[in-house]
Symmetry: C2
Subunit: 352 residues, 2 copies
Amino acid sequence: MKQFWSESIRDLAPYVPGEQSNAANLVKLNTNENPYPPSPAVIEAMQRATDADLRLYPDPDSLELKRAIAEFHDIPLEWIFVGNSSDEVLAHAFLGLLKHPLPILAPDITYSFYPVYCALYGIERVAVPVDEQLRVRITDYQRPNGGIVLANPNAPTGIALSLDEIRALLSANTESVVLIDEAYVDFGAESALSLVGEFPNLLVVQTLSKSRSLAGLRVGFAIGQPSLIAALECVKGCFNSYPVDRLGNIGGAAAMRDREYFENTCARIVASREWLRERLVELGFEVLPSQTNFLFARHPAHAGAALHQALRARNILVRHFAKPRIDAFLRVTIGTDAQCQILVDALKEILG
Amino acid sequence: MKQFWSESIRDLAPYVPGEQSNAANLVKLNTNENPYPPSPAVIEAMQRATDADLRLYPDPDSLELKRAIAEFHDIPLEWIFVGNSSDEVLAHAFLGLLKHPLPILAPDITYSFYPVYCALYGIERVAVPVDEQLRVRITDYQRPNGGIVLANPNAPTGIALSLDEIRALLSANTESVVLIDEAYVDFGAESALSLVGEFPNLLVVQTLSKSRSLAGLRVGFAIGQPSLIAALECVKGCFNSYPVDRLGNIGGAAAMRDREYFENTCARIVASREWLRERLVELGFEVLPSQTNFLFARHPAHAGAALHQALRARNILVRHFAKPRIDAFLRVTIGTDAQCQILVDALKEILG
């Protein structure tokens, strides 16, 4: 079967994304999608751009999209790299900035794509255990390394580090890249963007998939000083000259420019999250403190896998990771208030 | 500047795409885009799909798009891999199928992204010289190798190998992958797709950028037996779970399904190509026999760089490669008949 495969890929185990289903009546709370549609300005701009010009290549530099990101974050254009989703941006960062003689450091419990990138590119990695409460302790990262990768807030725990902690980490680690993956930062955590000017080794990665309701469009970006951005541009230019298509450039820019819609939908999700959190606690769950659009929770009397299955049988999809330390937990994406209510009702039934 | 860069990317030289310009009044014949818009069915399907569902991830397996490709080519679904442009598909193929102890073989004059992929992934490459007429001689490829990569028709020459030649190559080379890059095949060459069932080491790569007028959407695909496709899926799954966005899946499928529009626009381009070819010959150009949507031509009395500049000054963009063996040539994309006429008039003026 693998006769013609390159030796280097024979033992790779790809990342497994959450189930994507088109089934009707499904309450889909398993892949951290936003329950609200993208901004009407996004839909309008994209529909207008769906025209004869699709015959032409997109702008390989995604200048309009970068301008919108620069304006939103009030940073220079030269600090921005964009890609076909933050997963692609992360992949380029691993290859271009994190492949060194020393191993990278990342938590044992975190986004499970990181070890996959390491295997793909032959990067050594030390899995640094999170503490008993599944929290990242930044003092554990003070040792020689080829780079440090932290999701903040972390996934799937939802727990955020403070800006002071990130600053302390950066102050103690100046010789290698610190990559902060802020996929979920807009739901209540503090971004490290304000530290980019100060630390030339800091790369912040964000995505439009979650807080901008655009998982279907595949747009992500990184922000760092020009030397780091140049490394990403170098890898991109050796891989695919036009990673972001015409509609990604246009829709992404429109999303970054509708600040009011973005802030409103994020606030609604945060409110729903706190409501759902209280209900889960009432039902006996232990719920980790989340600054994301999901909750990570376990029940003292019910196994995670069993709850996952029982919900599945009621057409409710949540995510369960059959992994050491976290297999008692469920990761529940915050849906609309109606969806959250359906989940609570189903759990009441299941728990009896 | 490169303090934090991985050692492996420090000496990389990215691929340089043709100039993308938004200037009005520009006759853009430099990046082999299709002069005709995508099928109206594509625009309609994409506009309909630009809706609230953009909040959801795309189908990571791109099943609808694969179905449309399978139907068009009358092949099994399991033979198809899709990606965010054929450049991405090629990148995955280089990493997953062409990285072996022996060097790969590719023509010295061909798509200049191939050497870039080799450098990116540490793949050794032997540049096999094309002959005096810039033709690929398949007998030159009968030596031990880690893979063979041929663009057919070749770029930037436009010259095609026959199906018999490809078959002979495959019959003589059964131990490594033969990748046939058919980006331009729909403008008159014979596809190697009919050989996939016979040769488990054949991978054919195609794109929707040229003959389907969708350079702006970024959709490409590979066709091969399941073992080769599994290698590409493995690399993709370690890189980005959802490379093709919702609109790429839907627009791509609609493009594959409108066979009549596709055949009509290809036929128009072929007719324009032959008309332009005759005019260029009348003007004294040597024009290589093209089976693509571009012509590769040189003038005995005028340097390629000078002609390129003189056309640029008249707002006509063509492509010139400042490279050994081909720097006398211009690569001219076939535009609309009106654009071809403007080019001919300008050349008449320049040549005096």
